[in-house]
């Protein structure tokens, strides 16, 4: 690790004002290991862990709001989340291991937009709104490719708004080594609107599987996806799974998510 300065922000305004050329530090589960391996060398870290206004989970009966510094374990165990969108609590409870879940945050995960992260699939499938220090961004506009988002320099995610859905579930096939999503599929139904979001597989990050959405919109059941195959083009292939295997798993996981929703 190279040397850097550390500032514990006291508020969102303080954080945004003081970050400069530096980086925000949320749970640190990607940033800190990368720094330790000397693959990243930010000269300045603005630590968000003491910013009270970035914490908390609430629900107004139609929209679930999760503040950006909520830990995965907090989302997983929240009675508010379990009542509003139980599948989202289940997703959070399946991220990493207990140590990761007690440190990692939803804001950090989504801001990083790791192509194998779980939350981006939930944001996209549920049509979440990403709230920042300066604006509101629709999930459809937010994820812009591998580790790339709509966030501007220094822009800080403050909260996520998840409109309730009639049905929502996430099914994940884990990479055997890292236990990240090799393929994760989130399925959400809201009236006649069905959205299917796929993480882990795409070489350009999370994406919607519109063929499956059309099938499920007319018949929301696992069997509606029988015979439907995802295209392998544009998917990742590596030692853990070829693009062809990932394409196959998208179908299997979509069915499992639809069955569980």
């Amino acid at each position: 690790m190279y040397s850097f300065t550390h500032h514990a922000a006291s508020s969102v305004a303080d954080a945004v004002k003081s970050v400069g050329e530096g980086k925000y530090l949320a749970g640190g589960h990607t940033l800190i290991p990368t720094m330790k391996q000397r693959l990243a060398q930010p000269g300045h870290l603005v630590d968000l862990n003491k910013v009270a206004e970035l914490k908390g989970i609430s629900d107004n009966g139609s929209v679930l709001t999760i503040k950006a510094m909520s830990r995965h374990a907090e989302v997983a165990s929240s009675d508010v989340v379990k009542k509003a969108i139980p599948g989202l609590a289940a997703l959070a409870g399946g991220i990493g291991d207990p140590q990761v879940r007690h440190r990692g945050t939803i804001g950090g995960s989504v801001a990083n937009n790791d192509p194998v992260a779980d939350y981006p699939a939930a944001c996209l499938a549920l049509g979440a709104t990403i709230v920042t220090d300066r604006r509101r961004i629709k999930a459809d506009d937010f994820f812009q490719g591998l580790f790339t988002t709509a966030l501007e320099d220094n822009e800080l995610i403050t909260a996520f708004e998840f409109p309730h859905a009639d049905k929502f579930a996430y099914a994940k096939f884990r990479n055997p080594a890292s236990l990240y999503a090799l393929v994760g599929v989130a399925v959400a139904k809201r009236g006649s609107d069905v959205r299917v979001a796929v993480t882990g597989a795409g070489s350009d990050g999370v994406f919607r599987w519109t063929d499956a959405e059309a099938k499920l919109a007319s018949n929301f059941s696992a069997s509606a996806l029988d015979g439907l195959k995802a295209s392998a083009s544009g998917l990742n292939g590596d030692i853990h799974g070829s693009a062809e295997y990932r394409a196959h798993l998208i179908g299997v996981m979509a069915k499992r998510a639809a069955a569980a929703a």
């Binding site: 055997p176 080594a177 030692i239 798993l249």
Partner: protein
């Protein structure tokens, strides 16, 4: 059996310090004024080093020194060695390329050592290393044995222009070929034994120190055999004479073979300590461990098995290419030869066996012994062969094995080994009963009703451990003898220190060795301490690997205890005023035959030291004895493992549903510790079968250089094991014990693959059987079934 003697499941004495964080590992050792070493490693698999410019790096803050291979060479310090000479078919010696501790002129794998920076802090050493300018001339690389042996492949060592280290064979080729010519049926298999990264929990580390006053070196190192490390560093590499060289291997957090070897890093640390007159410390990070710990396995094999009209095996023929990596590690040459081919007879009566092994240099990390070392590779070959042969002959695989078992002992195989004792049918029968093999068909049907494929696979393994008679291994090319030493020091009040040449790095010697002494001398186990891992305290010893510490190390203790008892009886005769021949020793008490006179062990120990009751000129005072034990044979643990698993054909995920292991380890010192060894061994074997695999790309870059890509087995991947034992005492050591440390890792991979192929209905799967491979294989099965 006493509560703390042989056979008792005594809780491990060492665990309190391990689980409370009170262990003392090499990285816990800090010496006054120590500096830190950082190794600049090659980013290229194969390149010439045209120039190393350290000018800017030397200006970096905190730098004490920067050394390259030229500095070590100028100091007349030698390179690393391979201590086992193998000879080619034509009698010529193997072709061992030079192995400098820091590269000279050329790097040969990613992670090879280019230079070392010594600095006040580790961060400063790393900062400086980034400023070293190395001018590489990148060469094409050969990252696998097939590429390395192709015409026109890059030459890795000039001494071996075609990258062939040796071309070795064992067995009677003519007799084997004749048996194949006469065979009723021949089973053929192409087998890959996947390359593994050892990954002990504690990475390697070293602290080198030089004392000006005594002109002597001290090396703290993560070693399984500190005396051998001292011997090699002293006599072969030439750092200092042995009497001026102390090697300490304190608590060591696992080794699995990878800490047997003498590596560049500890060599450089202790050498540099004298150069810079400061202690020099290095602790591997996990990435360095992946890149530079000696890897395991990596065989490509074609194997054939011949049977006659009665379904009896008549011959086995094996051709193996073994990847040795870029340099020959300390014992690398022995692993695919004498630790491999002599086990190809398995538990079976096979009249003719012929094996040929070609060892090959590649641009990858060196490959050496890893838990089982050659024996897992052999067991995988023979247990896959017999399973497939049985299936091809439509014979139940268990019955096919039973039909071919060795049943009379001693049994001389055609490949060196003389099996001394065993009852293979007893293990198989007991395993089948414990496993409820009879209920398998019903379980398979239940799985099928859920859309799952269920399979059952056997592995009837034998291994040779407790290595081994020194003269015998010497005749096979070993550079050292493989005896063990022990010293028993009885203190004046009857407490005991055992100084052993064995080294415990997870095996529990502090408990099992103390059990032996507690039971034998009738003293509380708390009164026995085990001292190991320090060449200044313990006389020359050979260390721990190859499941040898029980059979060889404890036998040496028994021999020393025999001497202690004989001496104590002489003392007791004086104290109890009786003839020496009338003294009996039992349950910690000396008694005089036919009288009620008695004295306990502690009081006799005291009398031995105060020496008032006997003539010190006729009987030496004191109570301390030492012994060296050289075994008369290997020991031959054997057993049967049965793996039963379920495959989800939709994803290819394999779930191991039940596992039965019945092992014959001879007499057992501590059944709890033995069971733990079996559990850990199975986990490692399942890791090889389903998860682990070191992958280099064609440029020689290690793709699996972290746990993000290298899959370790996890608790959730493993079932609760059903472990049982049968016992035939080993006749070649006084305790009748065999080795248990590697058996699980040797037995389990073929059991898993035999179960998967049983479920799939075809043999086309390789290790590690990842979900994608199994999914593809399951599709092939479905197509095959549809066609039928």
């Amino acid at each position: 059996m006493t509560a703390t003697g042989i056979g008792a499941p005594v809780r491990r004495k060492e665990d309190f310090r391990f689980i409370t964080g009170a262990g003392r590992y090499v990285d816990d050792i800090n010496r006054p004024g120590q500096a830190y070493a950082y190794f600049l490693r090659s980013p290229h698999a194969h390149a010439t080093i045209n120039k190393i410019d350290t000018t800017e790096a030397m200006k970096s803050p905190g730098v004490v020194a920067i050394f390259t291979g030229a500095d070590i060479e100028a100091d007349k310090v030698g390179g690393l060695i391979c201590g086992w000479a193998i000879f080619n078919k034509d009698g010529s010696p193997m072709r061992a390329g030079a192995h400098p501790a820091l590269a000279i002129g050329k790097v040969r794998y990613v992670g090879d050592h280019v230079a070392v920076v010594i600095a006040d802090t580790l961060a400063q050493a790393r900062d400086a290393a980034e400023k070293i300018d190395v001018d590489y001339g990148v060469l094409s690389a050969a990252a696998d044995v097939t590429t390395a042996r192709k015409a026109g492949a890059p030459t890795i060592h000039d001494v071996a222009p075609d990258n062939q280290v040796y071309d070795w064979h064992l067995g009677d080729k003519a007799a084997t070929d004749a048996a194949f010519a006469a065979a009723k049926h021949v089973t053929k298999l192409d087998i890959v034994n996947n390359r593994l990264v050892p990954n002990p929990m504690e990475p390697r580390a070293a602290v080198g120190e030089y004392d000006i006053g005594s002109d002597s070196l001290t090396l703290y190192t993560t070693s399984q055999n500190p005396h051998v490390a001292r011997l090699v560093l002293s006599a072969f590499i030439g750092l200092a004479p042995e009497n001026k060289f102390r090697v300490i291997a304190p608590d060591v957090g696992g080794g699995f073979g990878s800490k047997i070897f003498i590596y560049a890093e500890e060599t450089v640390c202790v050498w540099a300590a004298r150069k810079v007159r400061r202690a020099v410390k290095w602790t591997s990070d996990r990435t360095e461990a992946f890149l530079s710990d000696a890897h395991g396995r990596d065989h490509v094999t074609h194997a054939e098995l011949a049977t006659d009209a009665n379904g009896k095996i008549t011959a086995v023929r094996v051709s193996t290419k073994a990847n040795m990596g870029a340099y020959l590690s300390t014992f690398a040459s022995s692993v695919p030869t004498y630790l491999y081919a002599p086990l190809l007879s398995g538990q079976y009566n096979i009249p003719a066996i012929y094996a040929e092994v070609e060892a090959v240099y590649t641009n990858t990390a060196p490959v050496d012994a890893y838990r089982g070392a050659g024996r897992p590779e052999a067991t995988y070959v023979i247990e896959r062969l017999v399973e497939v042969a049985a299936r091809e002959l439509n014979v139940d695989p268990a019955e096919f094995r039973r039909r071919n078992f060795v049943t009379a002992f001693p049994h001389q195989t055609p490949v060196i080994m003389a099996y001394d004792a065993g009852d293979y049918d007893a293990s198989l029968t007991k395993a089948q009963q414990m496993h409820d093999v009879a209920g398998f068909a019903a379980r398979k049907a239940a799985s099928a009703s859920k859309g799952k494929l269920r399979g059952l696979g056997y592995s009837a393994y034998i291994e040779a451990c407790g290595i081994a008679p020194s003269a015998a291994v010497g005749s096979l090319g070993a550079g050292v003898g493989l005896w063990e030493s022990a010293e028993v020091r009885v203190n004046p009040i009857g407490t005991v220190e055992i100084l052993t040449g064995s080294h415990s790095h997870g095996q529990g010697h502090e408990t099992t060795f103390a059990q032996l002494v507690s039971g034998r001398l009738g003293i509380p186990i708390e009164n026995v301490s085990i001292v190991h891992g320090d060449t200044d305290k313990v006389q020359m010893g050979m260390g721990t690997y190859g499941s040898r510490s029980g059979a060889v190390g404890m036998s040496a203790i028994v021999k020393a205890l025999d001497k202690i008892e004989a001496k104590a009886k002489k003392v007791a005769a004086h104290v109890l005023e009786a003839a020496e021949g009338d003294i009996e020793f039992k349950n910690g008490k000396f008694t005089v035959k036919g009288t009620d006179k008695e004295a306990d062990f502690g009081s006799i120990a005291l009398q031995a030291y105060i020496a008032h009751k006997f003539n010190g000129q006729e009987l030496e005072p004191g109570l301390k004895e030492s012994a060296f034990w050289d075994p008369t044979n290997f020991t031959f643990p054997a057993g049967v493992h049965i793996c039963e698993l379920e495959i989800d054909p939709a994803t290819g995920v394999v779930t191991i549903d039940r596992w039965t292991a019945v092992d014959d380890f001879g007499n057992v010192i501590n059944p709890m510790i033995v069971e733990g060894q079996v559990h850990g061994g199975i986990a490692q074997g399942v890791g090889q079968a389903l998860f682990e695999g070191a992958v280099y790309d064609s440029d020689g870059q290690l793709i699996t250089a972290s746990f993000m890509d290298y899959t370790m087995p996890r608790a959730q991947d493993l079932p609760s094991y059903n472990v049982g034992m049968t016992i035939t005492a080993c006749p070649s050591n006084p305790l009748g014990i065999k080795g248990c440390g590697e058996a699980g890792a040797i037995a389990s991979p073929p059991a898993v693959i035999n179960a998967i192929t049983n479920a799939l209905g075809h043999e086309n799967i390789t290790m590690p059987a990842t979900p994608e491979k199994v999914w593809k294989a399951a599709q092939a099965s479905a197509q095959k079934m549809a066609a039928e």
